[in-house]
């Protein structure tokens, strides 16, 4: 018991609370739009956007010459929009399937980003492929906290890592978007032609969903790297789909899975290796993504709705 109190004491608040909360916010912000992307067979677009964030960030650095979150997020956002437009153009002109168009665009743009990094003088600053992929969740600590009471101390709260309020704001925006346009998102995802006929602006809504995805990806990328972003767009929604046959419940499940992945992933990454006698910790981002994959594996084996296809015959 004493161990637990120490474990959740001042040191926990200072070193672990903010990374865990940021991990949860990032995971949920990505999992929410991921539900709709998955059902629209656009899951790859999350993948595409989180990759093109790299050239966007490098581009922003080359323009401004400084590591500053705001221009980098703008740059990433612009790259995401460029990628979405390129995907549309390739789909229409090349008449290829959407998945191929997305794959083409994001691998190419990611490669351009890596090239940019190599040929320009960015080696002195902390952007590298490793950081882009795995982020640096463990470094987002709350220096000025000296226990739970700091949560009530405005001076200490002002020193929270900026990623935390930023991600909270992004998550709030995404929750509002889904809540306000719930009917429209649901109807147009299920039956776009019907949605068009009853006056839902399906193209605009589809674009808004991609923009929400891009905002989530960019905000989360900064804190946790693209591995989590990619995993969270797909794994929690896919696992949630195997738990229920109702969209609202699927979304609740996906949030639960995202939260569980973030917490367990962080704890296992920090303490797990110690249980096996290793003095090192492993990457929290990598572990969170791994946990979400394990949850998907478990739901594939035991999820109540995993045998949906083929049940039509007995009806």
């Amino acid at each position: 018991m004493d161990d637990l109190i120490t474990a959740l004491g001042a040191e926990f608040v200072q070193l672990s609370l903010t990374p865990i909360v940021i991990g949860i916010l990032a995971a949920v912000a990505c999992a929410l739009p991921g539900n709709f992307l998955l059902l629209r067979r656009q899951a790859l677009i999350g993948d595409a956007i989180s990759h093109v964030v790299l050239p966007g960030i490098v581009g922003a650095f080359l323009v401004t010459g400084a590591i500053d979150a705001f221009p980098m997020m703008i740059g990433a956002g612009c790259a995401a929009i460029v990628a979405v437009i390129l995907i549309e153009i390739i789909k229409r002109l090349g008449r290829v399937e959407p998945g191929a168009a997305m794959g083409l665009v994001f691998t190419t743009l990611f490669a351009v980003g890596v090239l940019f990094l190599e040929i320009t003088d960015t080696s002195s600053v902390h952007i590298d492929v490793q950081h882009a992929l795995l982020g640096n969740l463990e470094s987002l600590i709350w220096f000025d906290a000296d226990g739970w009471q700091s949560l009530l101390d405005p001076a200490a709260l002002a020193t929270l890592p900026p990623q935390l309020p930023r991600l909270a704001l992004v998550l709030l925006g995404i929750v509002l978007f889904i809540a306000l346009f719930w009917k429209e998102l649901k109807i147009s995802t299920f039956d776009a032609a019907f949605a068009d006929a009853i006056g839902i602006h399906t193209r605009l809504l589809g674009f808004a969903l991609v923009v929400a995805t891009a905002i989530a990806a960019v905000a989360a990328f900064d804190a946790v790297g693209s591995i989590i972003v990619i995993a969270m767009f797909v794994c929690p929604p896919a696992a949630a789909r195997l738990m229920t046959n109702q969209l609202s419940r699927q979304i609740s499940w996906s949030v639960a899975f995202a939260v569980i992945s973030a917490i367990l992933g962080y704890v296992f990454a920090g303490y797990g290796p110690g249980w096996f006698g290793s003095p090192y910790a492993v990457s929290a981002a990598g572990m969170i993504a791994t946990i979400s994959g394990l949850i998907l594996l478990l739901t594939c084996m035991f999820g109540p709705q995993r045998k949906r296809i083929g049940q039509g015959a007995e009806a």
């Binding site: 299920f190 019907f194 006929a197 006056g199």
Partner: protein
């Protein structure tokens, strides 16, 4: 034909059904890529009629429906629904897409799909409420699917899925129903149930248009036909328009004359 004659001709088409007819189409052209799927189609559907749109595969029957409703962009042509542009008459129209056009593995129960038909009566930024659920249940009752309301839609047979689509259209409480192949791949019991509901709609003074491909049931189910094969071939009452000559022209000789004779006798 001179311009004056063309205008007169177009005027006649409008006159058949009247100015405020459920549907008046002039010169509708829709194209996917370079080849037009439907080319310069004129049509007018009178109120209270039940019309079958007939033509071979790839003749543009579905595209015609989608073009009139703006689901696919029009290259040219004018469409009037009850004398107005579609955007202004949207709430008076119910559209039932082809059953195969949606993914039935979508996480929804039967009632969730029917509730989508009540979209307009729920209002922006609001959620479905119990009174909407009651209305949806009434619509399911009318198509004989009330017992399946909590069933996952992917677990239904094709005929049951089609009935759910029809219930969603009933929930829209429209005056003009456009159905894309409502009898495709359904069992005989469902076909009878759907026809009965459509005839009820007609009896209530509503207008029904179906894309239909079973020529043997045209005379039994419908009172008007619109024959198209990219272009409009003929349009009018079944008695005078559903003729061997018109069918021959529509299907371009792909139907044997003896087959058509059988249809006429049936």
């Amino acid at each position: 034909m001179s311009n004056a004659e063309l205008i007169a001709e177009a005027g006649k088409i409008v006159d058949v059904a009247g100015k405020d007819a459920p549907l008046t189409v002039r010169g509708l052209t829709v194209s996917y890529g370079n080849k037009p799927a439907v080319f310069s189609i004129d049509a007018s559907i009178p109120a209270g009629s039940m019309t079958a749109i007939i033509g071979p595969n790839g003749a543009g029957k579905s595209t015609f429906l989608k073009g009139t409703l703006g689901v696919v962009p029009r290259l040219s042509g004018e469409v009037r629904i009850f004398g107005k542009p579609f955007a202004e008459a949207r709430d008076r129209v119910a559209y039932v897409p082809q059953r195969a056009s949606v993914d039935w593995d979508f996480p929804a129960r039967v009632i969730d799909v029917v509730l989508m038909g009540l979209y307009k009566s729920v209002g922006l930024f609001r959620f479905w409420r119990s009174r909407h659920r009651e209305q949806a249940m009434e619509c399911l009752e009318r198509v004989g699917m009330a017992d399946f309301s909590t069933r996952q839609i992917g677990q239904l047979s094709g005929g049951q899925q089609q009935r759910v689509f029809l219930a969603r259209a009933l929930a829209q409480n429209a005056e003009f129903y456009l159905l894309d192949e409502p009898f495709a791949g359904v069992d005989a019991a469902t076909e009878r149930a759907i026809v009965a509901v459509l005839k009820d709609l007609k009896a209530e003074g509503r207008t029904v248009v179906c894309v239909h491909h079973d020529l043997s049931t045209v005379a039994e189910y419908f009172d008007r036909v619109l024959l198209i094969n990219v272009r409009r071939i003929a349009e009018g009452p079944v008695d005078t328009t559903f003729t061997a000559a018109n069918l021959q022209e529509t299907y371009g000789g792909r139907l044997a004359t003896t087959h058509i004779d059988e249809l006429r006798l049936a």
